[in-house]
Amino acid sequence: MSKQQRDFTAAEKMDPAPSSSANLKKKRRVAPSTLLSLDCDILAMIFTFLDMFDLVHCSVVCKFWNAIIESRSLREFYQRKVKKDCSSEIPEKPLLNAILGGIAMKHHKLALQSGVCLVDQWKGHSTMVSQCRMKMGMVVTGVGDKVIRLWSLDRYKCIEEYSVPDMFALVDFDFDEGKIVGLIGSRLCIWRRNGKRSIFPAPEGTFVKGSCMRTKEDLMLPARRRPPSPKHAAKNPDTIHTFQPRPYFDPEAVIGCNDGTVRVFDMYSRRCSQIIRMHSAPITCLCLSEDQLIVSGSTSGSIAISDPSSVQQVATLRSSDCRGKNLYLLIGIPVNRIALRITIKLSAHPFY
């Protein structure tokens, strides 16, 4: 506001007498056309009504807006809302910037459990890799380049490296104490931790292209690693014994295929021991639950749960916001850096 207009500002002083036409002319000016002429109080008021996503957008609009958003606490922005909604969710951390990490977690709450988390990250591969598995204090990463790397979580060091044969593309992999099993092209490849590699072709020759794979955990091992879930135990105390070490159980690889079937391969006899039709659309991801149920998601956005011992479909879940893209997220997080110590939970799993 220029100095001569200042005299006529209502907040300053009232006009002593009806203005002459000369006065009038002096006062006439172009009405402000941008919100830059608004002070930060009004902008902050608008920001109050925006959610976190829009706030972040606004923080990139210009430096002035950015300064407003970054300098105020989230509490300040939400105070009004909280009062209005009587919501119990009062943000506690002082600066907006400081809690954005937490908000991002919330955004991905389908895949990530809320709570305190510690993220360590390091460079794992020279190119983007899209799969990672974590078990027993170790992480295996791969798919995207020609190596699979095994990392120790204690030291954040690459312990072992396995190369993928040139003529095949690695699709998916899984691992246990003794070996890493990869789905390459239409074959299974087993890398033994002692260095031997064996590849076996699809037995039937006409192997439908697989898109994901898990190995069944060796049931000999560790009841300690696999405590019965309290819920399950309470409901069904008689079945607890099934969680105890069993006699030897052949290792199997479970492969989700593009034709909507899940095929179970016996890794010793190298045979397909079971074909389970789970979806009508290609399967994008699958995982095995502790009680050996197979949970799979398809491109059509549905999730199916099957019990291979009875070949029975246990449940089918369908969710409009659970498109195939999201299903990938549930089980494999695309990473080229490895994010750890995040508890990944299959939120759609009904049993836990």
Binding site: M14, D15, P18, S19, L35, M45, F49, V56, V61
Partner: protein, 159 residues
């Protein structure tokens, strides 16, 4: 509406930037917090100038203050919805500036909320264009900001 007894029972004259003079009752004027302190000193011959307010905007503000039902919240909601329904985005922006300047009871919230709804889930470029804000970030700075909050830039509506 909080009717406050004003020392002056005369109407207050408000003059907009485009030279129009509006006579309003003290009860109405009292709800514009910016001019509130001036009211008790004024009489019928006083004209209060509002350099940031155009006639159209003052008309709307008075319409709001006079028309707002005092009773049930639902009636207020309906009235407010109707009030902003006919305004174009351009008019909304102008009105927001005027309302922000005058600090009009209740209307500040309503306008801010309405404007906020217009930029909800819009791209940064849309917001800049909408408000006529010049981007003073360097491309590198902007890229850095976006990188920091990459999670928030998925699934923005088409402009």
């Amino acid at each position: 509406m909080a009717e406050k007894a004003s020392p002056s029972s005369n109407s207050i004259s408000l003059k907009t930037v485009d030279g129009k003079i509006f006579k309003v009752s003290p009860a109405i004027a009292n709800q514009m917090l910016t001019i509130q302190p001036l009211i008790k000193d004024s009489d019928s011959s006083t004209i209060i100038s509002l350099p940031d307010v155009a006639a159209f905007h003052l008309t709307k503000i008075i319409e709001y203050l006079e028309g707002k039902p005092a009773a049930a919240p639902s009636a207020v909601d309906a009235f407010e919805a109707q009030f902003v329904k006919d305004l174009s985005p351009e008019e909304l922006k102008g009105l927001l500036i005027a309302v922000g300047y005058l600090k009009v009871n209740g209307l500040v919230d309503l306008m801010a909320n309405t404007v906020a709804k217009l930029i909800e889930n819009k791209s940064v470029e849309y917001v800049r264009k909408f408000f006529g804000v010049v981007n003073d970030f360097t491309p590198a700075e902007e890229a850095k900001c976006r990188q920091e909050h990459a999670w928030a830039f998925d699934g923005v509506d088409e402009d």
